[in-house]
Symmetry: C2
Subunit: 213 residues, 2 copies
DNA sequence: GCAAGGTGTCACCGATCGGTGACTATAGTT
DNA sequence: AACTATAGTCACCGATCGGTGACACCTTGC
């Protein structure tokens, strides 16, 4: 139509996000993307070598995972001085708050739970890198700890991610309201409850590596 | 072929379970069920009035959720005398162990996370009833408690269910091994860690940390 | 003017999906 | 034997899926 390859490519990329946001990943096919973009589907093959590549480009172009700064609202130095359990709580709660505002990321996470493709693999890679970075920068002492707080953190993240996924279609899970702010506040409190354990020697007043740094 | 309606119906019901177990819910369609059962697909419409009804019958015929006795291995009386946090831990851990051995239930849970149909609704109903029964029979005092242990329980169940779902396709999530017994033992320990909190008072007398011994 | 190459359009392919109408074959009843 | 109800078979429908070949259009360089 307009004889503008760049614009056509962008319309295709945008169409992916639009379909994910409005109809969900199950509706995301070659024909739907082309139709939404108002572009012939053959261009998906010409310009992106197929749908998987288009999904990969879309995944790399978007902002699907919060930065470390967004998750750790306080500065990193202050967090490093906290005991391990408090650091875990900060990260998990921060991730919780950040992901709640990312419906497209939740959609991709739902997809990832069910099948693998170029887009879910891209997101999985980003997330894994992110986790490694967070651990190496703020939780180097986790291995010394006698309790497996990293496993607890992953379990809690898995838990609220599952609830976020379910909230797309269901209103309730296990007595938890998934559509109201009060419901999510309850979940938030439960996360903090799971992390904050005085018995673990993890109070803010008692930093665990006050030894000699 | 054999002119035996009962047998044909049973073959169709069995085919649903077989497809779920071998190819996953995404492969479960009218044609696949009929082909697997070795029966013409028109019989699905005649005998069950369509696939949704067949799925409902399959869901009601199967054993997709553990009984309360299976989850609470000790007798219920002994559990009632435990503090609330210990009861929550017992139930969550019990459910965790029970669901790990139910691949078809995990498959339906994965399906349920993504879309709704007669089978997932059946399972959801069974699960909700089950949860209500457990709460009313063993956790009537939860409302009096100052901490929301029921929300914590649902969060933990959501967490390991998500990990079970992911384990169908992925080997790792957040540093957790999803294919080895050691990995699942780590998750199990993390669940117990989230539940057992001396700071919450009324803790289980865990023999290891008991002061009298 | 002319050829070449990139851009977009269109028609079509085979496969598969859920769904249905028309048929045959068998068993039981009278 | 004739009739009826049911079990099972078969062919086909329209829609949609991913994928491709052929062609028209426009810009650029010669």
């Amino acid at each position: 139509m307009n004889r503008d390859r760049q614009q056509s490519e962008q319309r295709l990329i945008d169409a992916v996000g639009q379909i994910l946001a409005t109809e969900g990943f199950s509706a995301l096919g070659i024909n739907a993307v082309a139709r939404t973009a108002g572009v012939d589907k053959v261009l998906i093959y010409r310009y992106f070598d197929g749908l998987p590549d288009l999904l990969r480009v879309y995944g790399e172009s978007g902002d699907f995972w919060p930065s470390m700064d967004e998750v750790l609202d306080r500065d990193v130095e202050a967090i490093r001085s906290l005991p391990l359990a408090a650091r875990v709580e900060t990260v998990v709660i921060g991730l919780f708050d950040a992901l709640r505002n990312r419906p497209q990321t939740i959609e991709i996470l739902a997809w990832e739970a069910v099948e693998q493709n170029a887009l879910t693999e891209t997101l999985a890679g980003i997330r894994e890198q992110w986790a490694q970075k967070v651990i190496s920068e703020t939780m180097t002492d986790a291995a010394d700890h006698d309790q497996d707080l990293l496993a607890l953190a992953s379990l809690l993240v898995a838990g609220f991610q599952y609830l976020l996924i379910r909230s797309r279609r269901s209103a309730i899970y296990g007595g938890l309201e998934l559509t109201t702010d009060q419901g999510w506040e309850r979940i938030r409190t439960a996360i903090r409850l799971a992390c904050s354990d005085p018995g673990r020697g993890a109070t803010v007043a008692d930093p665990i590596f006050s030894r000699e740094d």
